[in-house]
C-alpha cells in the first residue's frame, strides 16, 4: 500500500490517519480481539462501560486481558498490578523508537503526549511503516488520527462482544470467549522474531498453568520473570557458543 497524503492541513492529515486505520489489516485484528475481550469482560462480571474505559485508558489488549481475567477471578490487586506492569514493558522501547519519527524542529513536548499514550502494537507498526514518507509537520496529526481510528474500532467491538456474549447460546458464547486465547496465541507466535521469543512463548505456555496448578502466589509474575529470563539465558548461551 502506498503512503497516504500529502495533506494540506492538520485536519486533513488527522482524517487521513482515521481512514488509514479503517482500511488496514489491523481493523480486522482489533475487531476480532475486542469482540473476544468484550465476551471475556461479560463472563468475568465487569460492566461494558468499565471495559470501554479500560480500552481508552489502558489501550493494550494483553494488559486488558490480564486485568479482566485476574480481577474477575478475585486476584490480589498488587498481583494484578505487577502482571500488568510486566506485560507492558514492551511499550517503553516502542515509544523510544516512535518519537524520533514524530519529533520535528518545532515540536513541543505536549504535542507528543497523545501519541505517547496512543502507542500500541497496531498503531506502532503502521506508524513506522507510513510516517517516514510523510512531511514532518503532518506526522503528529496523522498519527493521532490513526490511533483514534483504531481505538474507536476497539471500543465499539468491545461493546459488540459484550452484548453478543450476553445474548448467545452457551456454545456460541464459548466460541466467542475462545477468540482471545486463540488470536493471542497465534499473533504472539507471529510476532516472535528470534529464537528467544519462541522459547519464551513455549516456557510461558508451560509455566503459567503449572504454577497455577501448584497454587504458587504471584503466578503470572513468576511465569514472566522465570520463563522470560530462562529464554534470555539460553539465547545468551547460544550467542556465546556461536
Amino acid at each position: 500500500m502506498s503512503v497516504p497524503g500529502p495533506f494540506n492541513s492538520n485536519a486533513a492529515a488527522f482524517f487521513g490517519g482515521v481512514k488509514s486505520a479503517w482500511t488496514s489489516v489491523f481493523f480486522l485484528v482489533l475487531m476480532g480481539t475486542y469482540i473476544g475481550i468484550g465476551a471475556l469482560a461479560h463472563d468475568f462480571g465487569l460492566s461494558s462501560w468499565w471495559l470501554a474505559l479500560s480500552t481508552l485508558l489502558v489501550w493494550a489488549a494483553p494488559a486488558q486481558v490480564i486485568l479482566v481475567s485476574a480481577l474477575g477471578t478475585g486476584a490480589a490487586p498488587i498481583e494484578v498490578a505487577i502482571a500488568v506492569g510486566l506485560s507492558a514493558i514492551r511499550l517503553f522501547p516502542m515509544v523510544v523508537a516512535l518519537l524520533p519519527l514524530l519529533r520535528g524542529p518545532g515540536t513541543r513536548l505536549r504535542e507528543l503526549l497523545l501519541p505517547t499514550h496512543f502507542t500500541s502494537v497496531s498503531m506502532w507498526v503502521e506508524s513506522l511503516r507510513l510516517l517516514p514518507g510523510m512531511p514532518r509537520v503532518r506526522r503528529v496529526a496523522f498519527c493521532n488520527g490513526l490511533s483514534v481510528g483504531y481505538m474507536g474500532t476497539a471500543a465499539t467491538f468491545g461493546f459488540v462482544g459484550y452484548y453478543l456474549a450476553a445474548g448467545l447460546p452457551p456454545l456460541f458464547a464459548g466460541t466467542l470467549l475462545f477468540l482471545t486465547p486463540m488470536s493471542f496465541l497465534i499473533s504472539t507466535a507471529n510476532n516472535c522474531r528470534q529464537m528467544v521469543d519462541r522459547l519464551a512463548l513455549v516456557l510461558g505456555l508451560t509455566l503459567g498453568p503449572l504454577l497455577t496448578y501448584w497454587h504458587v502466589g504471584l503466578d503470572l509474575m513468576w511465569t514472566g520473570v522465570v520463563g522470560g529470563s530462562l529464554a534470555y539465558g539460553v539465547h545468551r548461551l547460544r550467542q556465546a557458543a556461536a
Binding site: 490487586p77 507492558a88 502507542t119
Partner: protein
C-alpha cells in the same frame, strides 16, 4: 434528635457510602492496577526517549518476559476456562488450539486462517461432545 434516630441515619449514610464505593471500586482498580502500571512505561519512554534501540539487551529481555506472561495467560484461559467456555470439554479446547496453530503454520503464517480453523474446530467439537 434522639440517639436512635441518629444511629439510624448513620447506618443509612454508611450503607449509601458502601454502595457508592462498591460501584466505584472496579473503576478505582482500573486506574490503580491497570492504567498506572501500564502507562508508566509509555511515559518513561517519552522521558528517556534516546539511546535505546530494538536490539539492546534490556529490550530483548523485556520482550521475552512480556511474551512469557502473555503465553501464561493464554494457556490459563484455555486450560482453566471459566463461564461458557468451561462448558466445552478440555480436550476439545486443547485440540482446537493445536489445530488453529497448525493451520497458522500451514497457511503461510496467516493469523486469520489460524483463528478461523481453531474456532471452527472448537465449534464442531463443542457441538459433538457437549457436556
Amino acid at each position: 434528635m434522639n440517639a436512635a434516630m441518629n444511629a439510624a441515619m448513620n447506618a443509612a449514610m454508611n450503607a449509601a457510602m458502601n454502595a457508592a464505593l462498591a460501584e466505584l471500586w472496579p473503576y478505582l482498580l482500573l486506574i490503580l492496577v491497570g492504567y498506572l502500571p501500564n502507562e508508566m512505561w509509555r511515559v518513561l519512554g517519552l522521558v528517556l526517549a534516546r539511546g535505546l534501540n530494538e536490539d539492546s539487551e534490556i529490550v530483548v529481555w523485556s520482550r521475552a518476559v512480556a511474551t512469557a506472561i502473555i503465553a501464561g495467560v493464554i494457556a490459563k484461559l484455555i486450560l482453566f476456562s471459566a463461564g461458557a467456555l468451561a462448558g466445552i470439554p478440555l480436550s476439545v479446547r486443547i485440540g482446537a488450539a493445536v489445530c488453529g496453530f497448525l493451520a497458522f503454520l500451514a497457511v503461510k503464517r496467516s493469523v486469520f486462517a489460524g483463528v478461523l480453523v481453531g474456532e471452527a474446530v472448537l465449534l464442531l467439537g463443542g457441538f459433538l461432545f457437549a457436556q
